[in-house]
Structures are given as structure tokens and as C-alpha cells.
């Protein structure tokens, strides 16, 4: 967020939501490290004018906008820029809880072609939560200038999810990106996500916990990831689960036990 007419003066407190009356077919989340051109991609796709600026943390307010591709209407949610999803900060928690509990139909992770390694950390963490991922390697123009070449096909093969190369500032590669998103939500692309394997003791513990987590939450949420979080004693996740599956009978009526109600979690964090 920066100084735009949406963010100055009395409008400063408003979140940017563009909810038309039109029906939305799919919800797409946009994740990525700060300074990867995430907001530029967001603007280029939605035609909205969210402020882009070269400094981390400017997207403090949530933004969402619509775009169309192949006759389908998409709602694009711009998540705060984060380096990881381990919830070291409120931004990370918002992004992570959105991916886990709101279950977007697909997630676009924007990465910086000039520093792939650091950006891949986030991609791998997103893949742990949701398999429906499109990786958007942005700033290809900058990488070219710095004589860095990224093997897009090779990356797609390793990650097992589609990868699109873009230079969003010049509008390059965006059409391919939106087509790929459509392929993913329709399920016409085969996805076989790369999952990080941990050392033996941890994997054993996961194997023991995961089936029980699946019994608890069903197929709705990613049980491997939740198992990992529980093993890590992640208090935020435990709290969220407790709220979703309340302890006592009396509680249920107050908090609403259905997982579907849970998006309220997002508001509670701020």
C-alpha cells in the first residue's frame, strides 16, 4: 500500500474490495515474497490500480479484484508479501491461514527470477499446504539484464506444477499465466506437487499423526501440513482448530462448529 487516492485521507481505512454483482467462478490467491512485483501482477490481471512501489510491506491492506479468462470470472486475492509461511509475523499468518482455511481454487506464487533460491522457499511451503499452485516467475527482464537464465520447463518438471514466465511491468507472459490458471482450476493439467521430505525421525512422527488428523478434519484440509504444524506446537493453528472443533457442547452454538464459518479467523488476526 502506498499513497494512492485509495489510501489517503478518509479512504485510508477502507480495505479494497471490488465485489461486483457478477458471479465468481473461481477464487485465486496471489502469494509471493515482498518486492517480486506481486502488486504489478495483480494490477495487470485485474486492471485495478493498487499502488505499486519498491518497498517491502506496502500491501498492508487486503485487496481483491476480478479478471476474466476463457469466459470464466476469477476473483483474485492479493495476499501480503511474505518470505515464509511459518507465521513469524501477522502478514505471514494472514497469508498462511488464508491458504489453509479459505481454500482458494488455485494459488499463484509470484517469484523473482533474479533470486530464485530464496523465493523457492515460499513456493515449497505453499506446496505443502495446497497442490493447486501456479508458479509465476516474474521479473524475467531483470534476470536477462543480469545474465541469469531460469530453466522454466525444468522448474515445472521438478516442482510438478505449471510455471509461467512473466515480465509483468511490460505485460509479457500474462496471457499464458491466466491460461495456465484456467488449466489448473479446470484440472486439465496434471499436477504432481513436489513435497519436501524431512529427516527420518520427523517423517516417522508425521506418519503417526497424519492419519488421526485426517480423521479429525476430513479431506477438507491438508492433513500432512496440519500434522507438521501440530508437531511444531504451533499455537495459532491449535487455537484455530480448537475453535473449529470446539471442546464442549455449550461452546458450539456460540462459535459455530462448522469449518465453513472459519474465515472469520482472518479478521480476528488484525
Amino acid at each position: 500500500m502506498g499513497l494512492t487516492n485509495q489510501s489517503c485521507g478518509s479512504r485510508a481505512k477502507r480495505e479494497i474490495f471490488h465485489r461486483g454483482r457478477a458471479k465468481v467462478d473461481y477464487v485465486i490467491a496471489l502469494a509471493g515474497n515482498p518486492n517480486t512485483g506481486k502488486s504489478t501482477v495483480f494490477n495487470a490481471l485485474t486492471g485495478l490500480n493498487q499502488h505499486t512501489g519498491n518497498w517491502p510491506g506496502k500491501t498492508v491492506i487486503r485487496a481483491e479484484g476480478k479478471f476474466m479468462n476463457q469466459g470464466l470470472i476469477y476473483n483474485l486475492i492479493d495476499l501480503p508479501g511474505t518470505y515464509s509461511l511459518l507465521a513469524n509475523s501477522a502478514e505471514e499468518q494472514v497469508a498462511r491461514d488464508y491458504l489453509c482455511f479459505n481454500k482458494p481454487d488455485a494459488t499463484v506464487v509470484v517469484i523473482d527470477a533474479t533470486c530464485v533460491e530464496r523465493n523457492l522457499n515460499l513456493v515449497l511451503q505453499v506446496l505443502e499446504i495446497t497442490p493447486k499452485v501456479v508458479v509465476c516467475v516474474n521479473l524475467m527482464d531483470e534476470a536477462k539484464k543480469k545474465k541469469i537464465s531460469v530453466d522454466i520447463k525444468g522448474l515445472a518438471n521438478i516442482l510438478g506444477v505449471p510455471v509461467a514466465a512473466t515480465a509483468a511491468r511490460d505485460g509479457e507472459g500474462l496471457e499464458q499465466l491466466t491460461n495456465t490458471i484456467t488449466d489448473v482450476v479446470k484440472g486439465t493439467i496434471k499436477i504432481n506437487p513436489y513435497i519436501v521430505r524431512y529427516p527420518e525421525p520427523l517423517e516417522k512422527a508425521i506418519a503417526q499423526i497424519e492419519p488421526q488428523v485426517r480423521l479429525l478434519v476430513g479431506e477438507k484440509f491438508n492433513s500432512r501440513w496440519l500434522a507438521l504444524r501440530l508437531l511444531d506446537n504451533d499455537t495459532a493453528i491449535i487455537k484455530a482448530l480448537k475453535k473449529m472443533f470446539p471442546q464442549e457442547e455449550g461452546f458450539r452454538s456460540k462459535t459455530g462448529g462448522e469449518p465453513g464459518h472459519e474465515p472469520a479467523l482472518l479478521q480476528q488476526i488484525r
Binding site: 500500500m1 502506498g2 499513497l3 494512492t4 487516492n5 489510501s7 489517503c8 485521507g9 485510508a12 481505512k13 518486492n35 499502488h51 512501489g53 519498491n54 518497498w55 517491502p56 510491506g57 506496502k58 498492508v60 518470505y83 515464509s84 511459518l86 502478514e91 533460491e117 523457492l120 513456493v123 515449497l124 511451503q125 531483470e142 543480469k146 545474465k147 541469469i148 537464465s149 531460469v150 530453466d151 525444468g154 522448474l155 521438478i158 519436501v196 524431512y198 525421525p201 520427523l202 512422527a205 503417526q208 499423526i209 488421526q212 479429525l216 507438521l228 501440530l230 508437531l231 511444531d232 506446537n233 491449535i238 480448537k242 472443533f245 470446539p246 471442546q247 464442549e248 457442547e249 462448529g257
Partner: protein, 463 residues
């Protein structure tokens, strides 16, 4: 069903504790290490760096712009360059606009006479509403049209995080979060936006401090006032360097005040230890000049001007009414100004200036236009189209000295935030108490500083 599930969750939790008693395996570290190793492996397979560039420009630039020795001087230099450009460049178009707009005012008056409209119609709409609009446009538009593109340029290139980096250690010494430097930078654009940006600060204590001190940096509504007053101060010198120097000085004072009040708060009301954070310096990017100009004009300049106009039109009408409705021997405006006058004199201002600040609560942009309007309404001069005419009005007709201008600049820098900002503080802090403090604290600091400056200047016989 839920009952069944919840006992399950407790089961799982006790099992995880059992599997990892007292955190024997550091799970977090294991996860992070696993992910980092995988990322490194994949990167080695898909990324090729053909040849290392001979000079790493980012590194070289950062060595200068964020060095302990050159960081601050280069920051001051950049800031001065922007203000100098703004002040020098805005002078001529301001005059031109004023001349043009006041010519239109005369034609509007002629038109009113031609229509044989009653005198109050001309007074309320032309001398009240139109004239204050003309003032706002001619005083504010040119500086904004120059300042905003420059500021956006710095932002686009990635300079703002470097400012935060330079200021970080000072904020740490003040007991607050380094990210406050970023929210402070936002405040230069708009304090309300700066307050919202405080969300990037995690700790509630540090966020409150950042919110309470945000208005010590002048927002775009106050810059034109400061620039006009600075130009007034150096009028005889015939150079704009003096004015630049003064404005930069005021900005520096604002930053110092931010640090001082932050330190004060973190030692008293909001005690605590600063939390550490890592600020990544993003790469410098080649700015997209055309986009910057379009964005800063449409997003910022037009918007801020629009807001000022919306506020100035009714304010102009109110001022005209206050100045033209008599109670006893004087107009209401004179009564109000007289009421505040003795206190105003005490802190180097006068009753009209204080009235202007109070009436300007909805938007700082309109403080100077209100002041001019109220002086005009109680004076004889009818047309004002240059800084010389402004000097005539202030100095000759209303007895300003350099001290009045300095005190007004200080008061403008330090006084209470505008009502929009206060509302935003209330929304973000969800507390009436902190919102009131956010108004009272700067106001008392402004009064104290102006009082000290005015009294010591008078004691030393400088005025």
C-alpha cells in the same frame, strides 16, 4: 460429532507431546533446514548465471547511500534537491495561476453586478467560496505537481527502505521499532495513510508509538504552507536556497521530534524493549518515468487537491459569513480572533492564526487560505497574486515579524493532526483514550515549543 472430534484433537496433541518430549527434536529448525536444502537443490538444477557482472551497481550504491558516514548527508542532499526543485519550480506557475484565477474572480463579480444580484450573493459565493478555492489551487497545485513525482521517483527506485535503514539505529535507541522509519516516510505523503501503514509493526506497544508520533512529519497538506512561509521569510534575499534550507530544517526538526517523543513514550507510558526485525533492502529498479508522472498526478496530486477543494469551499463560505455577520461592533470573526489573541501572542502567533488552525482541523491544506481569507475580510486589500502581496498583507497590515512566520511554521509542524487522521487513529487503535492523546500530545508540544521560541526571542531582544 463435534464432541467426538474435539477429544480427538486433545488426543493428537498429547501424542505430539509424547512423540517429542520437551521439544527433543527442534521441529522448527528441521522444517526450515529441509525447505532451504530443497530450494537450494532445485535452484542449482534450473538457474544459470552466465557471467558475473563486473560492477555490482546495487552494492556500490548501497555502500554510499546506507553508509554510516555518507548515509545521512546523501539523504539530506536528496531531500534538499527535491525541495529546491519544488520551491523554485512552483514560484512562477503559482503567480500565473493566481493572476489568472483572480482575473476570473473580477469577471464573476462583474457578472453578479450585471445580473443585479444582491450584494451578499457576490460576497458569499465569489469573495467567500470562489476566492478560497482560487487560493487553494494556486498555492497548492504547483508545489504538489513537482513534489509528488519526485517523491514517487524515489519510492519507485527503492530509496525508501534505505531511509528506513539509515534511521533504524536511531529508532532503536528511542526504544521503538525500525519499521517506524517506513511508516514515518509514508506520513510525508499523508498522515492518515501513515497511520494505516503502522499495521506493518507487530508489537502493539511499538505500533501505538508509531501512530502517536506520525504527525510530526509534515504531510502534503502542510508542505505548501511551510513552503509559502519559508519563501516569505527569505523574500528579500532573492534566492530560493534559503527557503530550501528552512524547509529541510523543518523536516529535520520533525524527524528529531518524532524520535524524541517516541523515546519519551517508550520511557514512560509505553515501556518496553524494541523488538528486532530484518529489513531487506530491495534491489534498485530503473524507474518508469512516464508511469510515475501519470500515477503521481492522478493518484496523488488530483486527489489531494480535490480533497482540499472540497474542504475549502465550505470553509470559504463559513469565513465570509463569520467576517460579515456583526455582533455588536465587530464581526463574529473578530470576536473569535480577539478571544484567542492573548494566548496567540504568548506563543508568537495571533488570534487569527490560531482561529485558522482550529477551523483547519478538517484538512491542513486550508489553514493558510483560511488565514488569508480572514485577514482579507478584516483588511482593505482585495487582490493577492504573489508572494510580495502576501508579504504586504501579513507584514504591513497585520504586523508580522520573522518570529510570527517561524512560530507558525513550528505550530504547523507540531500541532494536532487533521480530523481524518484522528479518525483513522481511532479506527486503528480502537481506543478513545489514545486518540485523545494523539491530539493533546502534539498540541501541547506545539504550544510549548512556540512559547519557548517566542519568549526567548523577545527576551533576547531579537524582535
Amino acid at each position: 460429532m463435534n464432541q467426538h472430534c474435539s477429544s480427538k484433537l486433545d488426543d493428537i496433541l498429547s501424542q505430539t507431546r509424547h512423540l517429542n518430549p520437551q521439544g527433543a527434536i527442534n521441529i522448527n529448525d528441521t522444517i526450515v533446514a529441509g525447505i532451504y536444502n530443497a530450494a537450494e537443490e532445485i535452484t542449482n538444477l534450473v538457474v544459470r548465471q552466465q557471467e558475473k557482472p563486473r560492477i555490482d551497481w546495487d552494492r556500490t550504491l548501497d555502500d554510499i547511500l546506507t553508509s554510516r558516514v555518507w548515509g545521512f548527508p546523501s539523504m539530506l542532499l536528496l531531500l534538499s534537491a527535491i525541495f529546491w526543485l519544488t520551491i523554485t519550480g512552483a514560484n512562477y506557475p503559482s503567480e500565473l495561476l493566481a493572476t489568472g484565477l483572480f482575473w476570473v474572480q473580477d469577471r464573476l463579480t462583474d457578472f453578479c453586478h450585471y445580473l443585479k444580484a444582491p450584494e451578499w450573493v457576490n460576497g458569499l459565493f465569489v469573495e467567500g467560496v470562489y476566492r478560497s478555492l482560487a487560493w487553494v489551487v494556486s498555492v497548492m497545485l504547483p508545489p504538489m505537481a513537482i513534489f509528488f513525482p519526485c517523491f514517487t521517483l524515489l519510492e519507485d527506485m527503492g530509496y525508501l527502505p534505505r531511509v528506513a535503514f539509515n534511521l533504524d539505529r536511531f529508532f532503536k535507541k528511542a526504544g521503538t521499532h525500525g519499521k517506524q522509519a517506513l511508516t514515518m516516510s509514508m506520513g510525508f505523503g499523508c498522515n492518515a495513510a501513515g497511520i494505516v501503514a503502522c499495521r506493518i509493526i507487530e508489537s502493539p506497544r511499538e505500533r501505538l508509538i508509531a501512530m502517536l508520533t506520525n504527525n510530526f512529519v509534515p504531510c502534503n497538506g502542510r508542505f505548501p504552507t511551510l513552503i509559502a512561509l519559508a519563501s516569505l521569510l527569505v523574500l528579500g534575499l532573492g534566492t530560493t536556497f534559503g527557503a530550501t534550507f528552512i524547509v529541510v530544517g523543518v523536516v529535520m526538526l520533525g524527524i528529531l521530534m518524532t524520535l524524541f517523543v517516541s523515546w519519551l513514550l517508550s520511557k514512560t507510558l509505553l515501556k518496553g524493549i524494541p523488538s528486532s526485525f530484518t529489513l531487506e533492502l530491495p534491489p534498485y529498479r530503473k524507474p518508469q518515468v512516464a508511469k510515475i508522472i501519470v500515477r503521481s498526478i492522478f493518484d496523488r496530486t488530483i486527489f489531494v487537491l480535490g480533497r482540499a477543494i472540497c474542504m475549502a469551499a465550505p470553509a470559504g463560505a463559513v469565513i465570509w459569513l463569520l467576517a460579515n455577520i456583526d455582533l455588536g461592533n465587530h464581526s463574529i470573526l473578530i470576536h473569535i480572533a480577539n478571544f484567542f489573541n492573548s494566548f496567540g501572542q504568548l506563543i508568537g502567533l495571533d488570534g487569527f492564526i490560531l482561529t485558522a488552525f482550529i477551523l483547519g482541523l478538517p484538512a491542513n491544506e486550508i489553514v493558510l487560505p483560511i488565514l488569508i481569507m480572514s485577514y482579507l475580510a478584516s483588511g482593505t486589500m482585495l487582490e493577492l497574486n504573489s508572494i510580495q502581496a502576501l508579504q504586504q498583507l501579513f507584514v504591513v497590515e497585520h504586523g508580522w515579524t520573522w518570529l510570527t512566520a517561524v512560530c507558525m511554521m513550528l505550530f504547523s509542524l507540531l500541532h494536532f493532526p487533521c480530523s481524518t487522521t484522528l479518525w483513522t487513529i481511532w479506527r486503528e487503535s480502537a481506543s478513545i483514550k489514545w486518540t485523545i492523546l494523539a491530539a493533546i500530545l502534539p498540541l501541547s508540544i506545539a504550544c510549548a515549543v512556540c512559547f519557548i521560541v517566542a519568549q526567548s526571542a523577545r527576551l533576547l531582544g531579537l524582535v
